[in-house]
């Protein structure tokens, strides 16, 4: 136990002043060696093992080869008996007071020790958990970002197909438009040509009719009155003859 006090105070001295490194036996002398301050060696997780609350386990291991398991206990008993018998330690009322305060201390440590240790551990755990939460959140966010990126990359692959389809679409539209316009042009041209044909037909017809009228007129005008009388007389005789033949046919 006292060795622990020495170590604790040694650590304290080491950290407190520049003299500290020189005063205390420090195997890691940081300011003279080439080692840097980081990475810092980890703190021991559990305190050193002790038996009966204050005797370090190393003491028992030290004496084990020579005296076995009961060696340290014999040593302790012998020491106590020596102190008592030689009256180096005198039993008086302070002993009684010491016994009562010792009993209180032992009871308190045994009863509340584990819960206090658990409380300290819980404080540390909470600290770590808070930061771990931040780290986990950051990690999930990054994983999500990776997923999103992969999806974007996949989308990019498909984009060329999309562009081809769009290109085809546009080409088809253009083609359709072109054809439409061509069709329109053809129709217009045909209309104009039809018009010309109709015009020619009309012209020809007009000419024909005119010619016929002219021929008729000239024929009619060429018929002299003599001819007309002769033709009428002929027609009358023809008619009489016809009438006679018809009458004769009817009587028969």
């Amino acid at each position: 136990m006292l060795s622990r006090a020495v170590f604790l105070s040694a650590n304290f001295l080491k950290g407190s002043a520049p003299l500290g490194a020189g005063l205390v036996h420090a195997p890691r002398s940081l300011h003279t060696s080439s080692q840097s301050l980081a990475p810092v060696p980890p703190l021991p997780e559990k305190p050193g093992k002790v038996r009966h609350g204050f005797v370090p386990e190393e003491f028992f291991q030290l004496l084990y080869p020579k005296t076995g398991v009961t060696g340290p206990y014999m040593f302790g008993t012998g020491l106590i008996i020596y102190l008592l018998s030689k009256e180096i330690y005198v039993i008086n009322q302070e002993t009684l007071a010491g016994i009562s305060i010792g009993a209180i201390i032992i009871y308190a440590v045994k009863k509340f020790g584990p819960s206090v240790a658990a409380f300290a551990d819980q404080l540390n755990e909470e600290k770590v958990a808070k930061v771990q939460e931040v780290k986990d959140l950051a990690m999930t966010n990054l994983a999500q970002a990776i997923e999103n990126e992969k999806k974007e990359q996949w989308r990019v692959e498909g984009r060329s197909m999309l562009f081809d389809a769009k290109r085809n679409n546009v080409a088809m539209l253009l083609e359709t438009n072109y054809r439409e316009r061509q069709h329109m042009v053809t129709n217009e041209v045909k209309r104009r040509l039809d018009y010309q044909i109709a015009l020619q037909h009309l012209n020809r017809r007009l000419e024909q009719e005119h010619m016929i009228n002219w021929v008729e007129k000239s024929v009619i005008s060429s018929i002299t009155p003599q001819q007309e009388k002769e033709s009428i007389a002929k027609c009358i005789t023809d008619l009489k003859a016809l009438a006679k033949s018809t009458q004769a046919k009817a009587v028969i």
Binding site: S9, N11, F12, V40, Q93, I104, V116, A120
Partner: protein
Amino acid sequence: MMLNLFDQFMSPTLLGIPLMLLALSLPWVLYPKPLKRWLNNRTLTIQSWFINNFIKQIFLPMNTEGHKWAMLLTSLLIFLITLNLLGLLPYTFTPTTQLSLNMAFATPIWLTTVILGMRKQPTHSLGHLLPEGTPTLLIPILVVIETISLFIRPLALGVRLTANLTAGHLLIQLIASGAYFLFPLMPAVALLTSTLLFLLTLLEVAVAMIQAYVFVLLLSLYLQENI
């Protein structure tokens, strides 16, 4: 016997060399210094947690000016608690049983609070000398009484701590002597006395912690009045 009983309160010397400094510096080696680490071992965690909680509790009702006193009052508390508790072990010397030490703690700090109060807000500080709602006839008498109570504060602080601890230690010695000397004569009575001693020691542990806390709490209250 009578001489022995009060020997425990004599300042320790070794061959004429006063050991008071050694006794006073004992608490210093018992508390680990906070390391530059983020996660500490259990001792440091509990120590930091305790100090943080104490500071929060004492300084919450105080305005920001008073927060400058946090280190002084917290270190005073830790010091007094450690001295008191260590004194309960057998054969130890408790420096806080010396009136000189306790007065040396109480008077300067109390005087600081008074002077600060008088400097910063004299009317407010003087106003503390007269409680609210006193009938007009009583005012002169009450002012005198309040002034006396103001000046008796350091004495009260010092003597309270000294008296409590001295009385406790004396009682422990007395009852332990009683049990020890009765043991060969009347073992049963000695057993009863031992039980009494056990309970008294429990009480003394509580008193040790409470008295230190009360000392610091009262100083913080005086600070609150005046800051």
